[in-house]
C-alpha cells in the first residue's frame, strides 16, 4: 500500500508562530519522504535546539531531538553504527553555524552519507531574537538592542570548503522546489547540505517574506515587484562535478554564487560532487563487510548469552612464554 503524506504526520500540536517559515520546511520534508515512499521506520530525523529543534516531533518517523549545536555528531554516530538508516539532521543557523560550527566543519571532512538542513533565519528565535550567525553585519532586527556587530558567515561557502559534497539552498515558501532539493539530497551519495532561507515573522523584520518576495524591489521600467529569489537551474548554472578535473572551476563558481545577496539571491543546487569517497566507503576499505555487518547489525553473543568474540589471538601475544 502506498504511503501517504499523512503517514508522515504526528498529532503533536505545532506551536511555531503563525506564518513561520519552518512550516514550509516541515511540509517539504514530509512531502519528500512520501514522494520517495520511504517507510517511516527507516527514517530518523535528528534535530538541535530551538524552534527548528521541534521538527522531529511533528514527523512520524524516528525523531531524536538532541542538544544545542550537537545534532551532527548524534546523527553521524547513528548513521555510522547503522548505515541502513535514512538520516536527516535539521537545526537552526545558530545551532549549526554558531555553537555547532566545529561539528559542521568536521562533518564536511567525513562526508557521511546523510542530509543536513539548516533553517536559516538570521536570529535566535526561541530565545527572543538575538543575532544569529547568518545575520548581516550592521543589521538591527527589531529585538536587537544594538545593530549586529558580527559579520555573517556564508553557510554554502563554509560547507564547500569544509568538504560537504552536495550544496543547495532552498526557500521555505517555495515548498515544491525545496521538496525536490531534499529528494536530491537524500539520493546524493555523501553529505548533503541544504541552506533554507526561512523568514522568522516574529523577530526578523528585515529579511521578511515580503522582502524575499521583493515587494519593495520595484523594476523602474515595468513598475513591477521583482522577487529577490531566482533559481540557479533556470540560468543554465550547473553545479555538478562531472569529472574530477572540474573541481576547481566548480568550487570557484560556488563561492561567487553564494556571495550573491541583496536584490538577487540564488536558490537551487550550487554543487554536487560524488567523486569523494563517503565515510562509509572509507570504513569499508578497512572493514570489508562493514555495510552488511555494521556495528548495529553485529551479533555479539550466542543464544546462551555467552560472548562470541574470540580474543585468543591477542591474548596469546600476552602469554609470558611467548
Amino acid at each position: 500500500m502506498a504511503l501517504k503524506l499523512s503517514d508522515y504526520k504526528t498529532e503533536v500540536h505545532n506551536d511555531w508562530c503563525p506564518g513561520c517559515g519552518d512550516f514550509g520546511i516541515l511540509n517539504a520534508i514530509q512531502m519528500a519522504l512520501a514522494d520517495m515512499q520511504v517507510p517511516p521506520y527507516k527514517v530518523t530525523i535528528f534535530s538541535g535546539i530551538g524552534c527548528s529543534g521541534k521538527t522531529p516531533h511533528f514527523i512520524k518517523t524516528y525523531g531524536i531531538h538532541t542538544l544545542h549545536g550537537r545534532v551532527l555528531p548524534f546523527a553521524q554516530g547513528a548513521k555510522l553504527a547503522n548505515p541502513d538508516l535514512e538520516v536527516i539532521a535539521v537545526g537552526g543557523d545558530g545551532d549549526g553555524l554558531g555553537i555547532g560550527a566545529g561539528h559542521f566543519v568536521s562533518a564536511g571532512r567525513r562526508n557521511v552519507d546523510m542530509v543536513y538542513i539548516i533553517f536559516n533565519n538570521g536570529v535566535y528565535g526561541l530565545t527572543k531574537g538575538q543575532a544569529a550567525p547568518t545575520l548581516k553585519l550592521g543589521m538591527k532586527t527589531k529585538s536587537l538592542p544594538q545593530p549586529n556587530v558580527n559579520n555573517s558567515v556564508n553557510p554554502i561557502a563554509l560547507a564547500l570548503v569544509a568538504g560537504f559534497t552536495f550544496l543547495a539552498r532552498g526557500y521555505s515558501y517555495d515548498v515544491r522546489h525545496l521538496k525536490d532539493l531534499i529528494m536530491k539530497a537524500v539520493t546524493h551519495k555523501g553529505l548533503a547540505f541544504i541552506d533554507v532561507l526561512q523568514p522568522c515573522p516574529t523577530y526578523n523584520d528585515i529579511n521578511t517574506k515580503e522582502w524575499f518576495q521583493g515587494l519593495d524591489n520595484i523594476d523602474p521600467e515595468t513598475n513591477r515587484t521583482m522577487p529577490r529569489m531566482y533559481k540557479l537551474e533556470e540560468t543554465g548554472y550547473d553545479g555538478v562535478v562531472h569529472d574530477p578535473n572540474e573541481i576547481n572551476q566548480k568550487m570557484a563558481q560556488v563561492i561567487e554564487k553564494s556571495n550573491e545577496w541583496g536584490d538577487k539571491i540564488p536558490i537551487g543546487i550550487f554543487y554536487q560532487n560524488e567523486h569523494v569517497p563517503t565515510y562509509q566507503e572509507r570504513i569499508t576499505a578497512r572493514i570489508p563487510d562493514y555495510m552488511e555487518n555494521a556495528p548495529a547489525a553485529q551479533q555479539i553473543a550466542d543464544k546462551n548469552g555467552k560472548t562470541i568474540t574470540n580474543i585468543d589471538r591477542l591474548l596469546s601475544d600476552l602469554q609470558v612464554d611467548k
Binding site: 548524534f74 546523527a75 555510522l80 547503522n82 538508516l85
Partner: protein
C-alpha cells in the same frame, strides 16, 4: 659479604623521552615474566615528545606484586639526568649502572632538570661537601655503599660495530637502552637466553632491528659479566618455571580487550592522555575473531573533533543498538557533561571510560590522580541516574569493562567506568583473562514490540510508566516501533511535555532505576572486603595494589587490618558498606586526591566520619612503603588526622 636477595627487587630505568626507556622496560618486564617471575611496572613521563626525563619502575618478585616501592635496588641509566633524579633513592646495597661518558656533566648542563628539582639535588650534594656533576652524585651514592657499574656505552658500540664489520652500527645510539638493560641483567645474573627471547619478542615486528639488538645485548652482557665478575651484587634474578596460564598485560590494553569481548562495536574518542591508548588499541585490532564462525566482527573507532562530539556520536550509535563507548580523561569528560544528562533523560545505554589524571584544568596531564570521583558522580546539570564503577587494577578493569556494558543495557543509563593513569600506564603479570566466565546481558532490549507496549494513539511507549521503571527498549530502525527522544522532559512516547504531574512521574521512573540497580548488582561489584581487623581502610581505584601489598607486609609482622575496596561509587552501596564497617573501630581513608572524596561519600551515605585520611596529590601513585609507613603511624597512635604522601620523582 652482604646477604643476597634473590628474586625480589625494584629495578628502574630512566632516560630522555624518545630514547627507548619504554622498550627497555618492556623487554625487562617480559624477560622477568618469561623467567617465571611476577612483575609490576609503572611508567612516569612528562607532557613532552622528546627530551624530558621519563622512567619506568619495575618491581620483580617470586610472589605476586601489586605496587611499586620507593626504593631502587638497581638503577639503570644511560644519561646524566637519570643519575641526578634517582641516585638518592638507590638502596645502600643497590647498584647504579651509568655511562662513563657523562660523569663530568653537571646539573647546570642538564636543562631538563627543572629549577626546583635542581635546587633540591644541589642541597643534598652540597650537604655532603660535593660538587654538582654526575660523578659527585655517584660519589654520594657510593659513600652510602651503593655499587657503581661504569659502562663505556659509546666505546662498546664501536667495538660492536667493528665486530660486526659494519662501521655504520657505531652510530646506532638508539640501542644504548637495550645495552644498559643488558648490563643490568648481567650483574643480576639473569639468564641471557631468556633475555634474548624477550628482545626478539618486543621487536618482533622488525626482524632486523630485533636481531641487531640481540647481538648488541649479548656483546654488552658478556662485557659486563666479565668485567664485574667478582662484584657479587646483592640482588639476583633467577628464572623459575612459569606459572600456569600467566600473561603480562598493560593497563591500556585490558579495558580495550574487555570492550571487544563485551561486544562494544563503536567507540569514539578525542586524543587525550592517558585515554587515547584504549581507542588506539581497539582501532589497531578493529577486525575481530568470532567463535565458530567464518565471519569476522569489527569495531568502528571514530576520532572526533572534540569530546562533545565523541559522547554525542557514541549516544547516537547506542540508539541503534550497537554497544557504544567513548574513552576520555578529565578535561574531555568536562566537555561531556551536557550530553551525559541527555543520555540520562533519554535512558540511553552508553559507556564512558574515564581515565583520570591529575587536574584541575590541564593539571599534570601525564600524571596520576583520583580527583574526578565527585565529578563523575555529579557531572551534568539537573538530576538523572547514572552508574559509576571504579576498577582497582588491570585484571579487574578487564572484567569490569564487560560489566559496565551489561549495566548500561540493563538499567538504560550512562555508565562511567572509572580508571586512571596509574592503571593505564602500568604493566603486570596476572592470570590469563578467562573469557568463558563472560555473559552478555542486553536488558529489556526487544526486537519487536507488542500491543501492550503501545499507547492510545498506537505509538510505541518508549518511556512507558508502569510498575517497572525499566521500559522495553527498541533500536532506531525497528519496524512499527517509532519513538521520539528529546532533551526536554517528555511523554511516554518521547514528545516534549511540561506537565507538572508527568514531570514527577518521569523523574521518579528514571531515578527508581537506581533502586533496582542497588537491589540487583551483586555485592562483589559494590564493595569487596579484604582481611579483618579493628582498623579498616576504605579506598577505591588503583590504590588497591599498594594497600594489598601493605597488608601482606603488616601481616608478616603479625598485624591485621581490614580493607574495604569500594567499587560501585554511584549509586552508593550504603547498606553493604555500613555492614562492612560494623565493629570497625578506626576508619582510614586512603585516596589519591586532596580532599578525600570517598571519605565525604562515606559520611554522606553511611553517616560515619573517617578517623584518618591518607591522601596524595603530587601526581605520582602511592608506593607500598609510604602507605605502609602511614598506616603504621596510625596503628602506633601518633598519626595526625591527615597524612599527605609525597613520594615519587
Amino acid at each position: 659479604m652482604e646477604k643476597t636477595t634473590t628474586n625480589s627487587l625494584s629495578w628502574v630505568i630512566g632516560g630522555a623521552q624518545g630514547s627507548g626507556v619504554d622498550s627497555a622496560a618492556n623487554i625487562f618486564s617480559r624477560a622477568c615474566a618469561a623467567g617465571g617471575l611476577n612483575v609490576f611496572g609503572k611508567r612516569e613521563y612528562y607532557s613532552n615528545i622528546k627530551g624530558e626525563h621519563s622512567y619506568f619502575t619495575v618491581r620483580v618478585s617470586d610472589r605476586p606484586v601489586h605496587a611499586h616501592v620507593n626504593e631502587i635496588n638497581t638503577l639503570v641509566s644511560f644519561d646524566a639526568e637519570t643519575v641526578f633524579r634517582h641516585f638518592e633513592d638507590v638502596t645502600a646495597d643497590g647498584a647504579i649502572i651509568y655511562d662513563t661518558d657523562v660523569v663530568k656533566t653537571s646539573l647546570d648542563e642538564t636543562p631538563t632538570v627543572d629549577d626546583y628539582a635542581s635546587a633540591r639535588i644541589k642541597k643534598t650534594l652540597q650537604k655532603a661537601g660535593l660538587g654538582f656533576t654526575v660523578q659527585d652524585a655517584l660519589e654520594h651514592a657510593k659513600r652510602r655503599g651503593v655499587m657503581l657499574f661504569p659502562m663505556p656505552f659509546f666505546q662498546l658500540l664501536q667495538e660492536f660495530a667493528q665486530k660486526a664489520n659494519d662501521p655504520a652500527l657505531s652510530k646506532l645510539t638508539r640501542m644504548v637502552n637495550v645495552m644498559a638493560l643488558s648490563a643490568s641483567m648481567a650483574i643480576m645474573g639473569f639468564d641471557s637466553g631468556v633475555l634474548a627471547r624477550a628482545i626478539q619478542f618486543i621487536f618482533r615486528a622488525k626482524k632486523k632491528v630485533a636481531d641487531l639488538n640481540v647481538s648488541a645485548s649479548a656483546h654488552v652482557y658478556n662485557y659486563a659479566k666479565a668485567k664485574f665478575a667478582g662484584s657479587n651484587f646483592a640482588y639476583q634474578l633467577k628464572t623459575r618455571p612459569i606459572g600456569a596460564n600467566m600473561i603480562i598485560v598493560q593497563g591500556n590494553q585490558s579495558s580495550a580487550l574487555g570492550k571487544m569481548v563485551a561486544g562494544c562495536r563503536f567507540q569514539t574518542y578525542y586524543p587525550i592522555t592517558p585515554a587515547s591508548d584504549d581507542s588506539e588499541f581497539l582501532e589497531a585490532n578493529e577486525i575481530l575473531d568470532l567463535n565458530d564462525s567464518g565471519k569476522k566482527g569489527s569495531t568502528v573507532v571514530v576520532q572526533t573533533e572534540d569530546e562533545i562530539a565523541a559522547i554525542a556520536m557514541a549516544i547516537g550509535s547506542a540508539l541503534t543498538g550497537a554497544r557504544s563507548a567513548t574513552a576520555t580523561s578529565g578535561p574531555g569528560f568536562s566537555l561531556m557533561a551536557e550530553a551525559l544528562g541527555w543520555a540520562g533523560i533519554n535512558e540511553v545505554p552508553v559507556v564512558i571510560s574515564l581515565y583520570q589524571r591529575a587536574g584541575p584544568s590541564t593539571g599534570l596531564p601525564t600524571r596520576h590522580e583520583q580527583g574526578d570521583l565527585n565529578f563523575a558522580i555529579n557531572a551534568g546539570h539537573g538530576e538523572f541516574p547514572r552508574i559509576v564503577l571504579a576498577s582497582g587494577d588491570i585484571e579487574e578493569s578487564f572484567y569490569d569493562t564487560i560489566k559496565v556494558f551489561n549495566l548500561a543495557d540493563r538499567y538504560q543509563m550512562p555508565v562511567i567506568h572509572l580508571l586512571d593513569k596509574a592503571i593505564a600506564n602500568s604493566v603486570t603479570t596476572c592470570k590469563n583473562f578467562d573469557v568463558s566466565k563472560i555473559s552478555i546481558h542486553r536488558g529489556s532490549m526487544v526486537k519487536q514490540i507488542t500491543d501492550k507496549d503501545k499507547g492510545a494513539a498506537g505509538n510505541f511507549l518508549r518511556f512507558k510508566l508502569s510498575d517497572d521503571p525499566i521500559s522495553p527498549r527498541v533500536v532506531l530502525g525497528t519496524k512499527d516501533a517509532i519513538f521520539w527522544n528529546t532533551g526536554d522532559e517528555h511523554t511516554e512516547e518521547g514528545h516534549i511535555s511540561e506537565d507538572p504531574e508527568l514531570r514527577v512521574q518521569m523523574m521518579d521512573k528514571r531515578m527508581d532505576k537506581l533502586q533496582v540497580a542497588l537491589r540487583e548488582i551483586p555485592d562483589e561489584d559494590k564493595a569487596v572486603a579484604y582481611g579483618s581487623g579493628d582498623v579498616a581502610i576504605i579506598s577505591w581505584g588503583s590504590t588497591k595494589g599498594a594497600i594489598l601489598d601493605m597488608m601482606e607486609k603488616l601481616e608478616a609482622e603479625g598485624t591485621k587490618v581490614k580493607f574495604i575496596q569500594i567499587r560501585l561509587m554511584s549509586p552508593f552501596p550504603s547498606e553493604l558498606v555500613n555492614s562492612m564497617l560494623k565493629g570497625v573501630k578506626t576508619v582510614v581513608d586512603i585516596e589519591m586526591n586532596y580532599t578525600g572524596q570517598l571519605g565525604s561519600l562515606i559520611r554522606q551515605h553511611v553517616g560515619r566520619e573517617v578517623d584518618f585520611k591518607i591522601v596524595k596529590y603530587n601526581g605520582r601513585p602511592m608506593s607500598l612503603d609510604e602507605v605502609y609507613n602511614a598506616v603504621k603511624r596510625i596503628m602506633g597512635g601518633d598519626a595526625p588526622k591527615r597524612q599527605v604522601l609525597k613520594s615519587g620523582a
